[in-house]
Symmetry: C2
DNA sequence: GGCCTCGATTGAAGCGCTGCAAACCGATGT
DNA sequence: ACATCGGTTTGCAGCGCTTCAATCGAGGCC
């Protein structure tokens, strides 16, 4: 390893130093930290003062070793570029703060290898448990096949139908339905769904929601398009292709599987002077991204409760951690409609 | 297909169990893990087999307690929504992997309170040191005023002129210069800079680079605009305002302080049929965001070496950790030009 | 053969903290 | 006056691992 050059601070204060200064025993200092209710108010004061004075920072390693458990949970995020995951982190962190837990993050880039490695690192640091965002069934299977971990895992943003884990996810079918119903409610009838590929479970679900909403009212889709991906450029191409059909009156509403897609479509349509939005055609996106509100024509969208997802995940984890007789459960969260100008009634 | 039940391991194997199974002493197991060069090859084999068999996961808390140091470093990111920071994380993680260190992330949302809290959590887990991305001078001052930490901090994406810390940052003045020179090189002469507010140090620097590039060639700016912020919507407004001036031939090149800004400008201009890009006007952005390549007219941009920044930061940290006689240093990284269609020669 | 050397292995001593049971103490009840 | 009783405080025994000095054993050498 490294040569013995390990002293930065002359000597970091330990619990004994604090105890000495405060004139109590180390145990009492420990109690102040962990079970303040057992300690007399005056003593707490003395000890706190000593802690401040010495700038004592308890050694987490020693704490968790002695206590046999941590107050840390791991969170593996699969795409830091996606605001949904950032929201999940935000929610989990917020709630963690509340219950006095700390969160450590890891970024898997959606790669299975890194998901596994992150879980390993977490297990080494003896987290209480881990939250893991998952995208597709293959990863799910791989994770489930891991040797039974020491600490519970809660799966986020993926519906674990087998209930091998606790899971929390967002109801994308419902989201698609909500988006579609909104267009129907504002008087549109000739709707097209834009989104692909269907190998992405959320996209597939949104499409299913779209179809279900129409079916419920005895309508059928004007069309369904599956661009290669769901980015702005794909939307732009779709928009170009759709423009003539809009002018021909073939369709009056577009349900896009993502805000980027919707933004691209709107952008393409804006370049056609004879099409004015939202009169000629309503467009709704999905995700409540920056792209949606930060657009010349603010885009209606379906907002995913990422923050709530984070909170729900952590809650599940804490439950599982507490009980011995635990049955895995799934929590389903509902997305919500955010109407903006792009779907205003004409 | 999948095991229907998972139960937690009754008792996780410890180093003694491994030692027992392998028929050696716990010390030897420890040596296999930490100083394999001291152990006979045959013994290593035996021990490794036992470890696998028992699925032994060493207890990190105990390790770092006994060893007195960790192989973990903390990384505080100020904006997970910005791909630069995600790249920094990627770079740091990559290099960390290489040198056998693990990274724990925290998300500060650019809030000082959370930056401080994250550093505290890191210190409790006795990281080797922390990487901290900073935005503005106030935070820098607050962090510098903290009681001298036990572990070194390296500041990222902020030029610490006082050298209170090691720092690694990207040369935004140079970036602005490169962007501007590119427009000049492609025959544009009447350039305008768009970006604000100047309280963001990077924006200010980019503007300075813009001015410097012009000055070098004895030119002066056609104009400088300072929208409230640097998002797409701001760009869109700027674009609307600029359109008539472009038609009037007042300007033929736009240097935007961010890709979102550039994308907004281009979007606004695209709606004016008589302006065609990039013939009428060249636009260059900054950041190499998705917004830049994923645009109907791919946007030239200046790419920031986020990955390299992460690597540089971790390198600085490791240096500081190793040596006793350490002098803080700053590493400056150069951004690079990515020419795309939006600045093609007319 | 006895002695020395050197790589490989081991036992014991903590790392800094927490949990627990035991100890303490002033107050209360009889 | 003495036993009792909560609320507080304390001493002690580890938590699971690493480290370091001590030990072991197999050659090598005179």
């Amino acid at each position: 390893m490294l040569p013995a050059t390990r002293k930065r601070n002359a000597a970091a204060a330990g619990i004994d130093d604090v105890a000495g200064l405060a004139g109590v025993s180390p145990s009492t200092v420990s109690n102040v930290l962990n079970h303040p209710e057992r300690v007399a108010a005056a003593t707490i004061d003395k000890v706190r003062r000593a802690i401040d004075l010495l700038q004592y920072v308890p050694n987490g390693a020693a704490r968790s070793l002695a206590a046999g458990s941590t107050r840390t949970v791991g969170l593996v995020l699969s795409d830091l570029g996606n605001s949904l995951f950032v929201d999940i982190a935000r929610g989990a962190e917020e709630y963690a703060d509340e219950i006095g837990v700390s969160i450590i993050l890891a970024n898997s880039e959606g790669e299975l290898r890194r998901e596994e490695r992150a879980l390993e690192v977490f297990e080494q640091s003896r987290v209480r448990g881990s939250l893991l965002t998952l995208n597709d069934a293959d990863h799910y299977r791989a994770i489930a096949a891991r040797p039974p971990g020491r600490s519970p895992i809660v799966v986020l943003n993926y519906h674990d139908v087998f209930e091998l884990f606790c899971s929390a996810y967002i109801d994308n079918v419902f989201g698609g339905e909500v988006a579609t119903s909104h267009l129907l409610d504002t008087g549109r009838r000739r709707l097209v769904f834009v989104g692909g590929p269907d190998s992405l479970q959320p996209v597939q679900d949104r499409r299913r929601g779209f179809l279900r909403a129409l079916e419920t009212r005895g309508l059928s889709p004007a069309d369904q398009l599956s661009p290669d991906w769901i980015n702005r450029a794909d939307g732009w191409r779709v928009g170009r292709a759709l423009a003539p059909r809009i002018l021909a009156g073939e369709l009056d509403g577009i349900v896009a599987a993502s805000d980027l897609l919707a933004a691209g479509i709107i952008q393409a349509l804006a370049e056609v002077p004879s099409i004015s939005l939202p009169e000629a055609v309503s467009v709704i996106g999905y995700d409540n991204n920056q792209a949606a509100w930060d657009s010349p024509i603010p885009i209606s969208t379906v907002s995913q409760p990422g923050v709530a997802l984070g909170v729900a995940g952590l809650t599940l984890l804490e439950n599982e951690f507490g009980s011995d007789t635990h049955r895995h459960e799934s929590v389903r969260l509902q997305p919500s409609l955010i109407p903006r100008r792009s779907t205003e009634r004409r």
